[in-house]
Symmetry: C2
Subunit: 201 residues, 2 copies
């Protein structure tokens, strides 16, 4: 069992992570200071490097938690172990749910910097989604001319791009309908009745 002291420490850590995630999303990584994080979280400025070492350490911890959230969403669907379209949608949804989306978009800019320490973490999130998509697709009777890897990139890409269009124009873009269209596309390449998890039977 965690001691009282450890509990307090874990709570502080969570408060700092929540505040940092909000601030990185709102102001961007570079513009956020330890003082901002201290003010937002109510935790003293001096505690932050004690928990996370540096600002980069804090950023990596924020991303680590987001990777875990995407993984949890992928695993949380009822038929765990049998990935399907809904789970991939939930995984992409976790990546893109507000306010996380803004964080991911803000950090995408950082990730594109040459030599960025967060690029690997970002790629890891995309990999997790693609792996999940691939293991779903591998159970489907796909036509032989359609490489599972390429199709995974296209499907995860559609999830990302649909949500970005929706974020910018929620009144014009119906993300749920677009995801349904994507699912119909996938069902269309399968032999009749062989839709696996693509369309509920």
């Amino acid at each position: 069992m965690a001691t009282r002291r450890e509990q307090t420490s874990n709570e502080s850590r969570e408060l700092i992570l929540n505040a940092a995630a909000e601030l990185f999303a709102e102001k961007g990584y570079r513009q956020t200071t330890f003082i901002d994080v201290a003010n937002r979280s109510g935790i003293s400025r001096g505690s932050i490097p004690w928990h996370f070492g540096s600002k980069e350490g804090l950023l990596l911890a924020v991303l680590e938690r987001s990777v875990a959230m995407v993984r949890d969403n992928l695993a949380a669907a009822p038929q765990a172990g049998e990935p399907d379209f809904e789970q991939i949608d939930l995984g992409v949804g976790a990546l893109l749910a507000l306010p996380t989306t803004k964080l991911f978009v803000t950090l995408l800019v950082e990730a594109l910097e040459p030599g960025s320490p967060i690029r690997d973490r970002y790629v890891e999130i995309h990999n997790t989604l693609r792996d999940h998509c691939r293991s779903w697709l591998e159970r489907l009777p796909l036509p032989p001319d359609l490489p599972v890897e390429s199709l995974s990139v296209a499907i995860v890409g559609a999830g990302i791009g649909i949500h970005q269009q929706w974020l910018l124009a929620p009144d014009r873009v119906d993300a749920a309908q677009a995801l349904a269209a994507l699912r119909t596309l996938v069902a269309g390449i399968l032999p009749a009745g062989g839709t696996g998890g693509a369309v509920r039977r």
Copy 2:
């Protein structure tokens, strides 16, 4: 014919726009100053507000040029007037070609700000791509249960998301293969032989 003076003015304008587009992509909009733009472009700092009014005016002009570039790419394909998959791919490609991609990703953060002046411009680019995609799809014998509007969001979304995955992991992600898979998906919902522009006959 433009006078010598007008020519010089247009050249200065282009130099400023090029420098601003690069700097916004590299440093972000907020971190870029008129002095940075002057240093990069070789045009005096005082000329910039003369051409563009304010920093926001400069940003809008940079985006305006990008919208025009996307439009030109959509219109430039050989069979102009008959939109097809290649043109949409070229259009998305213009949106996402380096170094423009980084600019668009950087500015996406600004566009997500509540009340952002560039959000409309951003939505306009997405609309242009979706309209183009829709007018291509409308010429295809799509199944009746597949709304053209939703399918446009999914296809443009896939283009955006595929390129973003590729940007972060060019060694792992084959964007061309993923686009080919997307095209196969679209062909899969059409009656045999009725692929229109989806797959070259």
